[in-house]
């Protein structure tokens, strides 16, 4: 697991701490969604886990590996980060070059490189674009190439920092479907920093941050049983939970349990088709 103990962080130019005494245990080989407003500390948490920032106090361990400067080399191999803006993460002149760049950075032997590039581009469905210029790709395709660059290194943990927020609905849908499949196939741990309610509903575990503190955490289906609490924090809810809340407001007794869209349809049909 990713064990976070009493983690605090303050940016040098701010008076308030971005994260304030955060203690969390995130499960490995699962998908954890970290949600909260801008300024809640979500992205700071991602950068601390990845070792891009050094905590003011507290510790992070990935299984037994302590996140600190001594272990950065190892950490870089175990954690991959996909950023929000697909245009800001390319260096290569072709898609394959771009994936190769990451491998060179990790001193992967030259004779292994081609096989790894082919395999990872295939895993994200971009093998036909190996010789394309990154600039010619759509946002969704760029994010898939960024993901291939990470898969090629073979990390155990992937952090998505609002990686789908700049994509159109189809690009987003395709990327999420791909991720879900890869996680299952490769036993990977995913931490997604997100505002997207669809991404939230796909996750196994959810952490809600508010003003640098943990407001809620637990299994996603458990958290979504009580959508009113999330709505109070002005967070976007999956469609079925929004509908559940609106019906409740209109005086309808909706069962207080987690219903996805399909089960919501079933419940409504049960009520009305009798």
């Amino acid at each position: 697991m990713i064990d976070i103990q009493h983690l605090s962080f303050k940016y040098p130019d701010r008076t308030q701490a971005a994260l304030n005494d955060v203690t969390l245990q995130l499960p490995m080989k699962k998908w954890t969604a970290v949600i909260g407003h801008n300024g809640s500390g979500k992205s700071t948490l991602a950068r601390l886990i990845d070792g891009l920032l050094i905590p003011s106090s507290g510790t992070i361990k990935i299984d037994e590996l302590l996140v600190d400067e001594k272990n950065l080399q190892q950490l870089r191999q175990q954690i991959g980060l996909v950023f929000q803006n697909p245009d800001n993460q390319f260096v290569g002149t072709t898609v394959a070059d771009d994936v190769a760049f990451g491998l060179e950075n990790h001193q992967i032997p030259h004779d292994q490189m081609q096989a790894r590039i082919d395999e990872s581009l295939k895993a994200v469905g971009m093998q036909d674009f190996a010789d394309s210029e990154p600039a010619m790709l759509s946002g969704g395709q760029k994010q898939r190439v960024a993901l291939a660059g990470i898969l090629a290194i073979g990390p155990r943990v992937i952090i998505l920092d609002e990686a789908t927020s700049m994509l159109d609905p189809k690009g987003r849908h395709d990327l999420l479907k791909l991720l879900k499949k890869l996680i299952a196939e490769r036993d990977m741990t995913v931490i997604s920093i997100t505002h997207d309610p669809v991404e939230l509903s796909l996750s196994d575990y959810t952490v809600v941050l508010d003003h640098g503190k943990v407001a809620m955490q637990g299994e996603t289906t458990t958290l979504l049983q009580d959508p009113a609490k999330l709505a109070d924090l002005h967070l976007a809810l999956p469609f079925a939970q929004q509908l559940q809340l609106l019906l409740k407001k209109r005086g309808i007794n909706v069962p207080a349990q987690y219903l996805d869209s399909e089960r919501m349809v079933e419940w409504l049909c049960q009520q009305l088709n009798s």
């Binding site: 801008n38 009305l272 088709n273």
Partner: protein, 291 residues
């Protein structure tokens, strides 16, 4: 008189060369003053080319367009294009990337000054625009680059509104914003619409088109695939399928209910609230979930 009219407009990139590429083909359309049009379609369908012509960034290869009383065709001179731009405000995608001045106020004043407004008047227009965007006044003298993403976006939009456009074009205005900032921004656009501004909004989010627009323009391969009300569009499964458009979640949910044999009076609820209203009536009439 309609606010905007396109008449048999073609736009060909690099016309009369071997590289010639049709971006817009035989496009005609009239938009009423004060209307709110959502423009949807795939990347490369011609949405941005069409909007660039409205803003005078491109001139039609053939045909003509009119905004208010300004008519533009391929012989349009700089003066005509300048007059066109006076009435049209264009909020580009990720407009915050174009902020440049050392303070928020200077950035927002740049547009009106550029239109030849006096400095005092430009300042007044800038302050009004910043206020309309509900930005706190203590940021006016700060650098725009110190602000949060949602605030930077609003400063950039204030820069366009300060020019008092009668036609406002927005390209994916909520892309990359968090849910609360998106809702706030769309409410503001809706408010401008209520006050009489003609709005054209490019969007990939069908929920936004369904909720706010009175008409949807569907572009496909540089041509007008459809121009109709959201209700007409989202009722037309064949058209949606052909244009590769997913209906808003509330409509998709109603379809899911239908496939289970549950039919709603309005089978195309454009918003989740309209869906909830209908379900509530039904549940209170005959359901067992009577609260």
């Amino acid at each position: 008189m309609s606010a905007i009219e396109f008449l048999n407009v073609d736009y060909i990139y690099q016309a009369d060369t071997p590289m010639a590429a049709w971006a817009i083909k035989d496009f005609s359309l009239k938009l009423e003053t004060g209307s709110f049009t959502a423009i949807v379609g795939h990347t490369g369908s011609g949405k941005s080319t069409l909007m660039a012509m409205l803003d005078g960034l491109l001139v039609p290869t053939h045909g003509q367009l009119r905004v208010g009383e300004v008519v533009i065709d391929n012989r349009a001179d700089k003066k005509a294009l300048a007059r066109l731009r006076q009435g049209v405000g264009y909020v580009f995608q990720f407009p915050e990337s174009q902020l440049f001045a050392e303070t928020v106020l200077k950035d927002v004043m740049f547009g009106p000054l550029n239109l030849g407004v006096s400095p005092a008047q430009a300042k007044e227009q800038a302050l009004t625009a910043l206020e309309a965007l509900k930005l706190p006044s203590d940021i006016n003298e700060r650098s725009p680059f110190e602000l949060s993403g949602g605030q930077m976006r609003r400063v950039a939009i204030a820069g366009v509104l300060a020019m008092h456009p009668s036609v406002l074009i927005l390209d994916e205005p909520t892309a990359g914003l968090d849910p609360q900032a998106s809702t706030d921004l769309l409410d503001l656009v809706d408010e401008l619409h209520q006050k009489g501004t003609t709005i054209l909004m490019i969007t990939h989010q069908m929920e936004q088109a369904a909720r706010f627009a009175d008409h949807v323009l569907v572009m496909n391969h540089g041509q007008k695939a459809a121009f109709m009300t959201p209700h007409e569009l989202f009722s037309n499964a064949a058209l949606l399928n052909e244009a590769g458009i997913m209906p808003p979640a509330s409509v998709a949910f109603a379809q899911q209910l239908q496939s289970h044999g549950l039919f709603l009076a309005d089978s195309v609820p454009l918003t989740i609230e309209k869906l909830a209203d209908q379900l509530t009536i039904r549940l209170k009439q005959g359901g067992r979930a009577n609260g």
